[in-house]
């Protein structure tokens, strides 16, 4: 086995994303307490939690919008917790915030900033890929994102997040503000790009996303209270009542 083969094998054995013992918060207010999660290549991982559980704080910390107080974040084995957001994105993380798009820019401009760190040729070819995947966006590419409906905006947000050619897409409540029909559409989009080899870490309250989850974390008051498969989640009476008692 050559050195390159060995390196490739090592890379394949480490997690795509490995978060260990992360503590963080806003100013002096600690929100996350010793949080550890990981995402393997090709996985769709759902972080379930109620409002205020710390889901958005977790995602913002992973992408670099909030600093890590303690703990480590590794992407593909490389520590990234001290890197700026743009550096993390160029290493394969992409973040879809709850807003997801810049409303004042056109659809094409949103896609351009989604692929901001790509060279112009690569950005053009990736934009062509996105237009093939989302033909509606191509038709309306000169229109501002503010002219789109909620569902169309989410479609644009997904395309924008995929413009950077990510290995891992981190999504913050992609179902927020969407009708059940568009939630189904977003789930099918996730499946489509998962089939292309992209991993997903999705923070959600909507248990419909569990249909596609390979693993689930449950976050409560800044602490991880459950890790396992969807079947294991169903076998946990307290969580079953908390999440499926209301929504199921």
């Amino acid at each position: 086995m050559t050195g390159t083969d060995q390196q490739a094998q090592v890379k394949n054995t480490v997690s795509l994303l490995d978060v260990s013992g992360v503590k963080t918060g806003y100013d002096d207010l600690q929100i996350l307490w010793d949080l550890s999660i990981n995402v393997q290549r090709g996985e769709r991982v759902i972080v379930l939690g109620a409002n205020g559980a710390g889901k958005t704080t977790l995602l913002k910390t992973l992408v670099g919008l909030l600093p890590v107080w303690e703990g480590a974040i590794h992407l593909n084995g490389e520590p990234v917790q001290t890197l700026r957001i743009d550096k993390r994105i160029s290493r394969g993380i992409s973040y879809l915030s709850e807003v997801g798009v810049v409303a004042g820019l056109t659809i094409e401009e949103n896609l351009r900033i989604g692929g901001y760190h790509l060279a112009s040729g690569a950005a053009r070819s990736q934009m062509a890929v996105m237009y093939d995947s989302f033909p509606d966006l191509k038709v309306r590419r000169r229109e501002t994102a503010s002219s789109l409906s909620g569902g169309q905006r989410k479609m644009l947000a997904v395309a924008k997040a995929l413009m950077s050619r990510p290995r891992l897409v981190i999504m913050d409540e992609p179902s927020a503000g969407l009708s059940p029909l568009f939630v189904t559409e977003v789930i099918s989009m996730v499946n489509r790009f998962h089939d292309d080899g992209i991993s997903f870490l999705i923070a959600e309250q909507n248990v419909k996303f569990l249909e596609i989850a390979d693993r689930v974390y449950v976050l409560d008051a800044g602490r991880m209270i459950f890790t396992g498969t969807v079947e294991e989640l169903h076998r946990n009476d307290a969580l079953e009542r908390a999440y499926f008692g209301v929504y199921g």
């Binding site: 919008l65 915030s97 997801g100 810049v102 004042g104 820019l105 401009e109 900033i113 989604g114 901001y116």
Partner: protein, 293 residues
């Protein structure tokens, strides 16, 4: 009738120049949500740069303009990294920026007074070159027309930067939603630093033209230029650089018409327009909805 037409054409020539003078202030506000109260002082420094270079070394104002573009860009980027990220981390960056830049304005004015004294200085109007321009049977000052053309080019280049380049689109993303821009992987600090540098470059270009448009310059003129610039951007739309062009034209036309027909009232124009626009359309002529800044 010919007097009226002269006032209107002159108003347009001056209006575009005023747009250039104010656009940097609006650009910096749009990107960083800070009010650079020293903006007029940077315009004044640009003007004294042109005066000093011509009167001491005989350097053409256009050559000075190119040198000032480089110097002001470097100063703007340095000033950004030196103070603005700290301001933006504070609880009330807008208010702090007012206080801080007021201080910077006073320092610049004091240093300029030490260097150049308090007496107004002027430049020969033909120093920008000769260009014959007649419209409606009226001849217009060559320096006005050249200043107008330079202003059009500078504003046009800013438009091309903002709408046709990758960095410009990133700048507009920051103007629209700083957090979302950062989440998209845009290096917000780097783009903002360049934007602040560009804002000062625009001030420098306007400054080089100021002696030819406004006559005598003196260190304390910076405050007046800031007030005029602020009025123009409020008239157009605070935070929208393109709105500044509309604000500048409204201001230029109003000023020249007042100077033509009611000259003793002309100095009140910026203040009256400011009050009127705040009462009638607080978001500015090109603003959408109420401004919360």
């Amino acid at each position: 009738m010919s007097t009226f037409l002269f006032a209107v054409v002159s108003g347009i020539l001056f209006g575009v120049f005023f747009s250039l003078m104010a656009i940097g202030l609006n650009f910096a506000f749009g990107v960083m949500k800070i009010v650079n109260l020293a903006h007029g002082d940077f315009v004044m420094l640009g003007a004294f740069g042109a005066y000093y270079a011509l009167s001491t070394f005989g350097i053409n104002p256009f050559a000075t303009m190119i040198m000032e573009i480089v110097v002001f860009l470097v100063v703007g980027v340095g000033l950004y990294y030196g103070i603005i990220p700290r301001l933006l981390r504070s609880d009330d960056p807008e208010m702090l920026s007012l206080i801080l830049f007021f201080g910077i304005s006073q320092v610049i004015e004091a240093l300029a007074t030490l260097a150049f004294g308090t007496n107004p200085v002027t430049l020969p109007t033909n120093a920008l070159g000769q260009l014959s321009f007649q419209l409606f049977g009226q001849a217009f000052e060559s320096s006005w027309v050249i200043s107008f053309l330079v202003s059009v080019v500078a504003i046009g280049l800013l438009y091309v930067y903002l709408y046709k380049t990758k960095m410009g689109i990133a700048t507009r993303a920051i103007m629209a939603n700083r957090d979302e821009a950062a989440a998209s992987g845009i290096d917000v600090n780097r783009i903002s630093a360049i934007a602040f540098g560009i804002a000062l470059v625009l001030a420098a270009i306007a400054g080089t033209l100021t002696p030819f448009m406004l006559g005598g310059i003196y260190p304390s003129v910076g405050v007046n230029l800031t007030i005029t610039s602020f009025s123009i951007i409020v008239i157009g739309s605070l935070g929208n650089p393109i709105g500044t062009v509309v604000g500048g034209l409204v201001y230029g036309l109003s000023l020249l018409l007042m100077q033509t027909y009611l000259s003793s009232w002309a100095n009140m124009v910026p203040y009256v327009l400011l009050i009127l626009i705040l009462l009638i359309k607080p978001s500015g002529l090109l603003g959408k909805g109420a401004r919360n800044a």
